[in-house]
Symmetry: none
């Protein structure tokens, strides 16, 4: 009887199942190697090697590296964006808007640090930063939200473009440093970024001991 009430999940035949599995395997592999080696340095063969599938199989699912990347983006967007937008739309105060954004970003980054965070390849002193799909998805609509918040009067009528830039810049860089620390203190990062954003240098928490 229970069977009848529970909506039947779209039963996949074995074929569809493996197909879905493979697609996901490629996406997972891609996320890993993108994060490890950077998008530019990653080859399609790196991705398939990581999956254990045959080289030709890749092309049954994606036409190019770009396409996998885009798929990762779409994936991430689906999962990340709605919450972020919702949060920012519902923000009653400047601080809620700012803190909420940083909070969800830093928490997201902290959780998925292994494979998800932005890439930083240091070949020697070279820093290459690649925005992984999740990141892009996260900030993509920030500017729109900021503009709409300005219209609502929630945020002051400043240059929305530069404000977004500051937001993103601070989030990126602080998250990056946060992850490099032994025991990342997400709350501290949120606090710092929020205060910096809201009231600048002077409002930022003073370090008593270090």
């Amino acid at each position: 009887m229970a069977d009848m009430q529970i909506p039947v999940p779209p039963k996949l035949g074995k074929r569809e199942q493996t197909k879905a599995n493979n697609r996901q395997a490629i996406l997972d592999a891609a996320r890993i190697v993108f994060a490890e080696m950077g998008y530019g340095e990653t080859t399609i063969r790196d991705i398939i090697r990581q999956t254990g599938l045959a080289s030709g199989t890749f092309y049954n699912y994606f036409k190019s590296k770009e396409e996998v990347f885009q798929a990762l983006m779409d994936d991430a967007a689906l999962r990340v964006r709605p919450a972020l937008r919702d949060l920012r739309e519902k923000a009653k105060t400047e601080e809620q808007f700012v803190r909420g954004t940083f909070e969800s970003y830093f928490r997201f980054i902290a959780e998925d640090r292994q494979t998800q965070h932005m890439v930083r390849r240091n070949t020697g002193a070279i820093r290459v930063r690649m925005d992984t799909p999740q990141i892009i998805a996260g900030f993509d609509e920030l500017q729109q939200d900021i503009e709409s918040a300005i219209e609502r009067g929630l945020l002051p009528a400043v240059d929305a473009d530069y404000l977004t830039a500051s937001f993103v810049g601070i989030a990126f860089e602080i998250a990056d440093r946060m992850l490099e620390r032994e025991n990342p203190d997400v709350d501290a990062a949120i606090e710092f970024a929020t205060n910096m954003m809201l009231a600048g240098l002077k409002a930022v928490p003073v370090v008593t001991d270090s």
Copy 2:
């Protein structure tokens, strides 16, 4: 025997001269192609092609692409850092420190936008940011300067790491957007960044017309 009679041309000076020239030629070529195609996409062949030298010659001067990059960095550091450090060491106020840093950075970026600024390759929605040598050189010692400024009491005793991160993040991102505009207004960018840094969102200049 005939060989012995031919007066030996003053080879040594010239040799060294050419040697230095070649080295510089490679560096110049590398700077151009790095900026044009991005570090990751640049091949050694691209660099030597640009110089007109033979491919083997490259290896007389550098072992790898990385090494050229490092050399460019060192070059840039020599030219860029002293002024920056000097400026920050001599800063009497917080604002001088902050504004001075942004000012020299944004002006530098604006002047050299052609070949020197950071690379942004967009393959579709993919943002890859590569810090060119000059950029890195510019920010490399920022953290030290910040720490020293904190010690001097010029800056509040905040988390120097995160403060640097905010600095760099804001600078990067705003510079980036500035360059995308039709007529980049460097002063406006400096003003925005400085105020953001010093007093946050609320202090940032309000846009009256857009």
Copy 3:
């Protein structure tokens, strides 16, 4: 139970029908792509793509590209050969034999020029000539007919091998040029080839105006 009530569709006939249909579909597709892209350049995938069938299905009917080709040949042979043989067997004079052969060949070529005639791929200056099934079928038994005609005394006792060669060579090349012309004049081609064959250069119609 419900399954049992549904009237069983007359499956058997249909099965065989589909089977025959598929076979024919593959043959048709092959003829088209062979003619379009040339035998050598055609891949099995090209053929199945053209049919809309699944790739695996191909192998239920043919083992290889060669085999499809052979089947096309057999097909054509069935349709083309009998008439040709008949014509040549019934020939009362040398001229009937020769003219009849050229006539049926040139007319056939002219009618099916779209997809059926021989392929000529020019990659640059390279001429690759591929005898399509129909063509081969047409000439395949020519030599036998010639030999038999010699025995009958219809044709002089010349080297049958070389005679066939001349026949084929003239037919091929003239047909080829005929098709390249704006308004192919089949009768003129027949006339030229027949005269060339029968009495050589001197007998060939003189061009008065061009």
Copy 4:
């Protein structure tokens, strides 16, 4: 002193020597595999495999299969054409013109039968004929020569296009059959073709025993 009179052959350094050798090696290899497998079926890797060189080396000399082919053509043209043209220009009679052309063609084919003659791949019953460079070179200017001969009054004013076609067709096909014989009798082939061309079927030598 002798040195001064004998024109110094362009002394090649060791480098130039190997370079020339390699180029020639590739050309030779290409000629062989083109002849063996047909142009269409030949891959670049087939060619380099035949040379023993590394795969990348091919690209130091040629950009593509087409380019090698063209180079072979140019080679052949240089060697074959002048004699042919000369012969045909100097022809005093129809027969000289016709016989000379066949003669040089059949002799050429007979000599180089290994690697040089036209390709005939029989995969099963499939005949693919590929005109190798030498062949093309040989016949390329035939039509011009024919037209000029017609103007000179050496040949009757027939359709030059079709006449060329007949020439080429007969030459191709007879040469082909000639080569298939145990002991190719070049003179017989020349005789047959010439007579066929000049006076058709009736003039062709009768076979007494076979």
